[in-house]
């Protein structure tokens, strides 16, 4: 099965070195860039959380000022959502989607590079706010009219609004790219209902992205107009209703929750069958429930707003739609249980994280079910009970799912397995520590501790539970350090994986690890849902690795990066001034022009 590169028609380009990464349009490399960048922001977001927990360690603590504390939770939320979990998911989309559907790359490779660069620049821009007069301090949800010039005169809100606009461009470009890729570039024979579940969840997530981000874009444009040109979209003194922001924000914000969790659900739907040696139980039902969740995600936004006072009819409507979402979610959980039931479960680290996902996501789902009921929610919303809920969903759920994916596909990405011993240590440390950190928050919230307070009085009974939560953070830190040590060690000394270390069923396991630049020698024809587990498997592997004819690969380009830089400078000019905006306009125009007329061979 020796592959030869002689027949590969690709322009000469650097294979290593910094320039090769700057100009890359290879979906695999872009996936790696996304993953490593997002992991750095995951660490930054974690650091912000750690400082907050140290401040809340005891009552009346004075480690940080209230304003800095407000900046910390705003940036922690914004960072973890937009700069960690979303791009970590994007890293899996990038690396895996072409491999799983049997394609050589995504539909628009240079647009893909553009997405990454604009994400990177937007993320840097947002974090620069710490050094230019203070980070945003209005919460990741930025409720007006606190965000108005009158109540937030500094530049923090500007950084936040412009930063989210920049990041939105990255998300939109990626969303369209993956929809087109998945719809058009599947291998022959891979009908929609033969796509791996991760591909399905990527498709649903991509649709949610392209429909949800325009909503927040509009909301942010209104806000920026208010702040820069003195319009009154959200200014109550001029007769505006600041609740408009809440409707727009949550109309984006709730689908956003599913943008964060559906990819993780897709990941574990790949991991569970592999390590149970059984196909996914009720595949069509899992697909439909994923679509149903994505669809229903548009009809529940006001459950974030029960305290606003929208009236009993609206409260009832949104309570019922929210409860309805529990059905497909429950169906998914039962189907995952059905998948491992009767299987032959191998407790590799990836599998532990996938099982941990089920356990923790169930917790988060059930507490979510409790505040789907508005009267109960009115006691729970804006308290630590909700902080517990979102962290069970997003840390116990999304992040654990992402770790499952990292352990599962690390051999495919690097050619080496992550250390199993350190992996198990990572899992158990993480599992215990996350419960020590987040479980007490349910109770401290029910006992009356609001969110987003930088301090609390000593006689409220909040003390020891907060201390326990703070202690738990150090367990999470230890777990992350173990993981980082494992990665750095395994990159050099990890067990060589070979093409298919776990006995996977999907196409990415048919080709070498790491895959060659062109992925498949010949695009195979797919006849079933789990092709490598079928009789067609061995033949398919041969085809996938045999160079059948000339292969056309796109050349690298630095114009996507230049255009992304231009757009970022252009928008940064809103905060920093015209001297940055004008060069930004010029670079953008020149970048896009050069990109458009760049020869494609």
């Amino acid at each position: 099965m020796a592959t030869t590169t002689a027949a590969i028609h690709a322009p000469v380009q650097a294979e290593s070195g910094l320039w090769s990464w700057i100009t890359t349009v290879d979906h695999k490399r872009i996936g790696i860039l996304y993953g490593t960048t997002a992991f750095v922001f995951f660490l930054i977001g974690g650091l912000e959380a750690t400082i907050m927990r140290l401040q809340l360690m005891r009552p009346d603590n004075t480690l940080v000022s209230p304003d800095f504390y407000n900046e910390l939770f705003t940036m922690h939320g914004t960072t973890m959502i937009f700069l960690a979990v979303m791009p970590l998911s994007a890293s899996f989309f990038n690396f895996l989607i072409p491999l799983m559907i049997g394609a050589r790359d995504v539909a628009f490779p240079r647009l893909n590079a553009f997405s990454y660069w604009i994400f990177l620049f937007g993320a840097i821009f947002l974090n620069l706010s710490f050094f230019f007069g203070g980070a945003p301090d209005v919460g990741w949800f930025g409720y007006s009219n606190l965000t108005s010039k009158q109540f937030s005169p500094g530049h923090g809100v500007d950084f936040w609004a412009v930063g989210l606009q920049i990041l939105g461009i990255a998300s939109l470009a990626a969303g369209f790219n993956f929809i087109v890729t998945i719809v058009n570039m599947r291998a022959p024979g891979m009908k929609l209902m033969r796509m791996p579940l991760f591909v399905w969840m990527t498709l649903v997530t991509s649709f949610l992205i392209i429909l949800a981000f325009p909503v927040i874009t509009v909301a942010l444009v209104f806000l920026l107009f208010d702040r820069f040109t003195g319009t009154n979209f959200y200014v109550p003194a001029a007769g505006a209703d600041p609740v408009l922001w809440q409707h727009l924000f949550w109309l984006f914000g709730h689908p956003e929750v599913y943008i964060l969790i559906l990819p993780a659900m897709g990941i574990i739907s790949e991991v569970l069958p592999t390590f149970s040696r059984k196909p996914l139980f009720g595949y069509p039902v899992v697909v439909y429930s994923g679509i149903f969740i994505g669809f229903m995600g548009w009809g529940v936004w006001s459950h974030h707003m029960f305290a606003v006072g929208l009236g009993p009819l609206a409260d009832s409507f949104f309570a019922l739609t929210t409860m309805l979402i529990a059905i497909p979610t429950g169906v998914k959980i039962f189907n995952w249980l059905g998948t491992i039931w009767g299987g032959r479960i191998e407790f590799k680290t990836a599998m532990l994280f996938a099982l941990g996902f089920i356990a923790m996501f169930t917790m988060g789902g059930l507490s979510g079910f409790m505040h789907a009921s508005p009267p109960a929610d009115l006691q729970q919303t804006d308290t630590y009970f909700v902080v517990a809920h979102i962290h069970y969903v997003l840390y116990g759920g999304a992040i654990m799912g992402i770790f499952a994916g990292i352990y599962y596909w690390f051999p495919k990405i690097t050619g080496r397995k992550l250390g199993e011993g350190l992996g198990q240590l990572h899992f158990w440390l993480n599992f215990v520590a996350l419960n020590v950190t987040f479980f007490p928050m349910h109770f401290v919230g029910l006992l009356g501790m609001p969110r987003r307070i930088y301090t609390y009085a000593p006689h409220m009974g909040f003390d020891w539970m907060n201390l326990l939560s703070t202690a738990g953070v150090f367990g999470i830190i230890a777990a992350v350090l173990v993981f980082m040590w494992n990665v750095s060690r395994s990159l050099r000394h990890g067990e060589v994986a070979g093409p298919d270390p776990w006995g996977g069923a999907t196409l990415e396991w048919a080709i070498p690890s790491p895959p060659p630049a062109h992925n498949f020698g010949t695009i195979p024809t797919v006849h079933s849902l789990d092709p490598l587990w079928h009789r067609e498997g061995p033949e398919l592997v041969k085809t996938a690795n045999r160079i059948g004819g000339p292969i056309h690969m796109p050349p690298g380009s630095h114009w996507p990066m230049a255009s992304a830089l231009g757009i970022t400078l252009l928008l940064s000019g809103m905060v920093f001034g015209w001297w940055l905006g004008i060069p930004g306009v010029l670079i953008t125009l020149y970048g896009i022009y050069s990109w458009a007329f760049e020869p494609c061979t």
Partner: protein, 345 residues
């Protein structure tokens, strides 16, 4: 030996366990230990929520136990063992899948019905004889007005036990959220809107509350207290609050303080009935009768009041009240002003 249990008793025991266990931790705790607890209802509204929460908890705990038990059982039972045969490639089971779609739907119905009933019950118009209170949120303190009684006070809301309280909620600046957990759920206070909330306090006592919506720098320092009093005690409080402010005797320290107060910048923001007309800060007509100052974060004693007047922003970050220096007043004036304010019982 077989252990016999009456099935009905067993069922009740299980139900009690399921509801109580998760709440045992808190149910066993007294209100003294957790004064701001949302799990110790002291009004009709809070009790309705508590009843609903118990039903929710019951189902949530059952589902939690079932799912985690299945997960753990499957993980142990179906773990890979040497020599085990390949599992059967089962792709699904229609009956099972229909079953676990319908089961959650049934549970949802069981929860949805009391949910909707409670929503409509708790948001029904208040009884006619309710005590009217107008609450105004400010960065970062609460103002309480009794329009029918002609009283304006701050940070401490007095109400009689057993009488419905009809609260209208407004804000002077940004969004806040009004929340006394012992009285029930929170309600946002939104610019340009008047929100409503009503409840009937069922027990005499003092209950803490605080702002529950991020409202800027000192959001954490926007606290308040609810004093639920016996009717005659409440009437006495009302009578005292309705009196004009006490006029200090000439020649006393308090009289000196009043002079400083009226000559200084205090009057720009604070109202003392018949003395000054400021509306930006709390009304001080009967400030001496309150137990706390500064949005409920410091005790109302001479030492704290003095420190507050000298440099309010240093004591409470972001506080709008100017420091003594910025008001061009001198520290020597402070004891007299404190004496005057304390005399305003």
């Amino acid at each position: 030996m077989r252990f016999r249990t009456h099935p009905m008793m067993f069922r009740r025991l299980m139900a009690a366990l399921l509801v109580v266990l998760p709440l045992a931790f808190v149910a066993g705790c007294s209100m003294q230990d957790y004064p701001q607890s949302s799990l110790h209802p002291h009004s009709n509204y809070a009790q309705w929520i508590q009843t609903l929460l118990e039903q929710l908890t019951f189902w949530v705990v059952i589902i939690f136990v079932v799912v985690q038990a299945l997960l753990i059982y499957a993980a142990i039972r179906f773990r890979s063992r040497p020599g085990a045969p390949d599992p059967k490639p089962i792709h699904g089971n229609t009956a099972l899948e229909i079953g676990w779609t319908i089961a959650p739907a049934l549970i949802l119905t069981l929860v949805a019905v009391p949910t909707v009933l409670t929503i409509f019950k708790s948001q029904a118009p208040p009884p006619e004889d309710a005590l009217q209170v107008r609450v105004v949120g400010h960065q970062w303190w609460w103002e309480f007005q009794y329009p029918d009684l002609g009283i304006t006070t701050a940070s401490e809301l007095h109400v009689p036990v057993g009488v419905p309280v009809n609260i209208s909620l407004e804000t002077a600046d940004v969004i806040h959220s009004f929340w006394f957990p012992a009285m029930g759920g929170k309600r946002d206070v939104i610019p340009g809107r008047t929100n409503r909330l009503w409840f009937t306090p069922s027990d005499i006592g003092q209950y803490p509350g605080q702002c529950a919506e991020l409202c800027g720098t000192s959001h954490a320092n926007m606290r308040m207290a609810l004093m639920v009093q016996a009717p005659e005690e409440f009437q006495a409080w009302v009578a005292a609050q309705q009196l004009p402010p006490i006029e200090p005797e000439a020649g006393t320290l308090a009289a000196q303080g009043k002079q400083y107060f009226t000559q200084g910048q205090c009057i720009v923001c604070h109202m003392i009935q018949g003395v000054s007309a400021g509306v930006i800060g709390p009304n001080l007509t009967h400030v001496g009768s309150r137990t706390t100052i500064a949005g409920g974060i410091f005790p109302n004693d001479a030492a704290d009041l003095g420190k507050w007047i000298i440099n309010a922003p240093a004591r409470k970050p972001g506080a709008k009240m100017l420091s003594l220096k910025d008001m061009a007043m001198s520290p020597e004036q402070v004891p007299a002003i404190v004496a005057y304010l304390q005399s305003l019982k």
